[in-house]
Amino acid sequence: MSGKVRITIDGKAIETAAGEKILWAALDNGIYIPHLCSIRENHSPFASCRLCFVEIEGYPGPVTACTEGAAEGMAVRTRSERVDRLVRTGFEMIMSNHRTECGVCPKNRSCALQKIAKERGLRLKPGRLEKLDRNLPVDDTAESIIYDPNKCVLCGRCVWTCKKTGSGTLGFAKRGFDRMVTTFLEAPLGESGCSGCSACAEACPVGALALKR
């Protein structure tokens, strides 16, 4: 599996490690593919945000770039009618569940959602869909970070980071629409054994976990 392979992304010839996920091969070469949940060091991708769809020649339908390994001669297209449609709907769904208050959000201008919207010409309003605000309480009990679950897109980057470099406090709880990032027994962060390293705030792409200003 080691060694280099040659693939094309949007017509651009790219040399990359065999098995390297298309998402990283593209990003390394300056080709943007929308993504929220992927972490390069994580070798079993979550594949949960469903935004990094691409077309690969010979495949029946769009696939997620974060799970597809590069193989010799692969021809990838980051845009197509089907891809654009899926990304648009997926993004709309995420926006319908994300409390949008960019004006006062610490992530304003560095937010992954804003970047996706800009790159793909999408709107931050959920368009065809109704807003589903969950109205959960904001947790500001921790010393250095503030957690607003209403902004959370459930990408899981904070959970992964907390496990790797933090105190392993964060995890997922509940299921379906109620799924959320929280602590053991849903204790407030300040009482949860959080070490206050704030690695999660750094990992969060959307400002759900952010440093206190």
Binding site: R85, T89, G90, S96, L154, G176, F177, R179
Partner: protein, 645 residues
């Protein structure tokens, strides 16, 4: 070759003993009470108790055993009485009094009470057999052959009817040959997707790792499906044998039954079966003396529908949250604890002993070229005869509904059949002649699924049906991926809006768009198939959606917000106050002619008055849209004032 002979010989020794006690049992009178969950729910255990008491009291030489379900769930509690000199006679719709009478009249006095007999098990002059039923012509039993006829908690019964012979035969073959045979049979996974079982086994065999696992997936969770439960409860050893053969074929030393905890009787019976098989040397360090070692354990799933998905099932067994993950790698390559794992459905494994005993060609004689063998369906809904049936693949829906199920219950007409559970779809009358197999059902817009069939009549609203299933998948979604977590939630919101009468003209297109994207974008099959109930109802019953959205009318009179209750003045008996008494909110009053009238403002649409109105009057009706009722009342008032003038 020596070892081969041993397996069969070891089995013969065990079986000789089993046959002796089986023969002994059949020499005297035997009462076999159907005591699977379906029977127990309507009092089978009480009936069995009465049989035992009466036999004891009247000093009759007879034995009572508890067996599983034959599939005739509609007639439960049922019992087969085998009395020497008579054919075996099956009695249905039993109760405690009837049981006592059968002991007195039949066992003591020799009158078989044919008026209560449902069927006999051998051709005779006075009682028809189950084969004489219309369904007898359609049904063919490969898996359910012994269900309801042997004691599931007694391994000797299974051995006496030829049990574990297939395992012995498999052990005499090279494991690769066993996998080849199953592949040649064309057996497709009965869990829903229809993946060729032999190919799955081959993938696992080809995997490098030597530690391998086999898992029987018994996390049956579709609303209206109970095939796996019934098989596990009625013939657990059959499934154990199938799993043991699978383990031998792929070289697994460890097997698991993943049974949902809501099936306590199935768990208990499989545990007993594993115990007994271990004691008889059929499982354990050296299976039937061949040196092939196999341990099988039961793992109880704790109630998440999504854990029927194989990667979620594995995650939950590993102690992690039951969430699906991206495939590949498939479990056959990297499954439980990262080792190659074969996961097969209960029914799939139940066919394996049949294939080993009869060969691949014999198996392929039944069914269609693309889907060989039989299919097992759970019949539920508005049918006369609900229950379980096993029919060849390619049988039409019409045969299943009208021949097996005896048609629609009550004075009602067929509207649709929901097949394949929350991943399936609703098919209308036009499609009744569709042969049932994996491919033609998918083409029609439904899905084989695990085999639940729910029959709907004209009183069932198809929009409400779609809403019900979306509500189910939305609640059962694990919440990991965007499309399933939020997409199903949005679809449910739209459907709720429509059933409330707040539908918008663009809603149908929006539903179609969302459905297509959820299907293409979701991570696992739960999400990918979740839109099917909506897509199929929109395809076949678009007029009902339109009636809800544009006319604010529910044609089936089911959606509460779109109906009103109304008392027909010319049918109201006047002196009867049944409806008035039944109303919990005092919304019904008598007008000056003593005709009952419903105060629409107060009415909570609980349906009590409609039930309470005596059948000879049937004065209470539902109307839709709801303002029809108010309009009619106004009309009545006007007519009355004209009469007065």
């Amino acid at each position: 070759m020596n070892a081969n002979k041993t397996a069969a010989m070891v089995l013969d020794e065990i079986r000789a003993e089993a046959l002796r006690s089986w023969e002994q049992m059949r020499q005297k009178t035997l009462i076999a009470v159907g005591a699977a969950t379906c029977g127990r729910a309507v009092g089978a255990l009480e009936v069995a108790g009465v049989f035992r008491e009466e036999i004891e009291r009247l000093k009759v030489d007879a034995a009572v055993i508890e067996v599983g379900c034959m599939g005739h769930c509609y007639a439960e509690p049922m019992a087969f009485i085998f009395k020497p000199g008579f054919p075996g006679i099956c009695y249905g719709y039993l109760n405690e009094g009837l049981a006592a009478r059968l002991v007195r009249d039949f066992l003591v006095d020799g009158d078989p009470c044919v008026e209560f007999a449902l069927a006999a098990d051998g051709v005779n002059d006075f009682i028809p057999t189950f084969q004489d039923f219309p369904r007898g012509l359609v049904e063919q039993k490969m898996v359910m052959e012994h269900c309801g006829l042997i004691d599931p908690e007694n391994i000797e019964h299974y051995l006496a009817v030829g049990g574990y012979g297939a395992l012995a035969a498999a052990l005499a073959m090279d494991p690769g040959e066993v996998a080849k045979l199953v592949k040649a049979s064309g057996l497709r996974g009965r869990g829903g997707a229809g993946f060729p079982t032999g190919s799955k086994w081959d993938l696992c065999r080809a995997a490098g790792e030597k530690t391998r696992y086999v898992i029987c997936n018994a996390d049956e969770g579709d609303p209206g499906a109970f095939m796996d439960r019934t098989i596990l409860e009625s013939n657990p050893h059959l499934v154990v044998e199938g799993l043991a053969i699978a383990a031998y074929a792929v070289g697994a030393g460890k097997g698991y039954f993943y049974i949902r905890a809501e099936y306590p009787l199935a768990v208990e019976r499989i545990r007993k079966a594993l115990d007994q098989a271990g004691k008889y040397g059929i499982l354990g360090k050296s299976v039937l003396g061949t040196g092939f070692g196999l341990e099988i354990e039961v793992f109880q799933g704790s109630g998440a529908f999504v854990c029927g998905e194989e990667t979620a099932l594995i995650a939950s067994m590993e102690g992690k949250p039951g969430l699906p993950r991206h495939r590949p790698p498939f479990p056959s390559e990297a499954g439980l604890f990262g080792k190659p794992t074969v996961i097969n459905n209960v029914k799939t494994l139940s066919y394996v002993p049949y294939i080993l005993r009869n060969g691949a060609d014999r198996f392929k004689e039944t069914g269609t070229p693309g889907s060989p063998g039989t299919a097992i369906f759970a019949l539920a809904g508005k049918l006369v005869n609900t229950g379980l049936t096993e029919v060849p693949m390619g049988t039409t829906l019409r045969q299943i509904i009208y021949d097996v199920g005896s048609g629609i219950a009550g004075n009602s007409n067929f509207k649709a059949v929901q097949i394949g559970g929350p991943s399936g779809g609703c098919l209308p009358g036009e499609t009744l002649d569709t042969p049932i197999d994996f491919d033609s059902l998918t083409r029609a817009g439904a899905m084989m699924g695990s085999g639940g069939i729910v029959v709907l009549d004209e009183n069932d609203c198809m929009v409400e049906m779609a809403r019900f299933f979306l509500d189910f998948t939305q609640k059962e979604s694990c919440g990991k991926c965007t499309f399933c977590r939020l997409g199903t939630r949005h679809m449910l919101g739209i459907l709720e809006r429509i059933t409330r009468g707040e539908g918008r003209p663009e809603d149908m297109d929006l539903l179609l768009e969302l459905a297509g994207d959820i299907r293409a974008g979701s991570l696992c099959s739960l999400g990918k198939t979740a839109p099917n109930p909506v897509l199929s109802t929109l395809k076949y019953f678009r007029d009902e959606y339109e009636a809800h959205i544009f006319e604010k009318r529910c044609p089936a009179l089911m959606c509460k917000d779109l109906i009103a209750y109304y008392i027909l003045p010319h049918k109201c008996e006047r002196s009867c106050d049944a409806c008035v008494g039944s109303c919990p909110v005092e919304a019904i009053y008598s007008n000056e002619d003593r005709i009952k009238v419903i105060n629409q403002e107060k009415c909570v649409k609980c349906n009590s008055c409609l039930v309470a109105c005596p059948p000879q009057y049937r004065a209470v009706v539902k109307v839709s849209p709801p303002d029809l009722a108010a309009g009619k009342e106004k009309e009545n008032d006007e007519r009355k004032s004209q009469d007065n003038h």
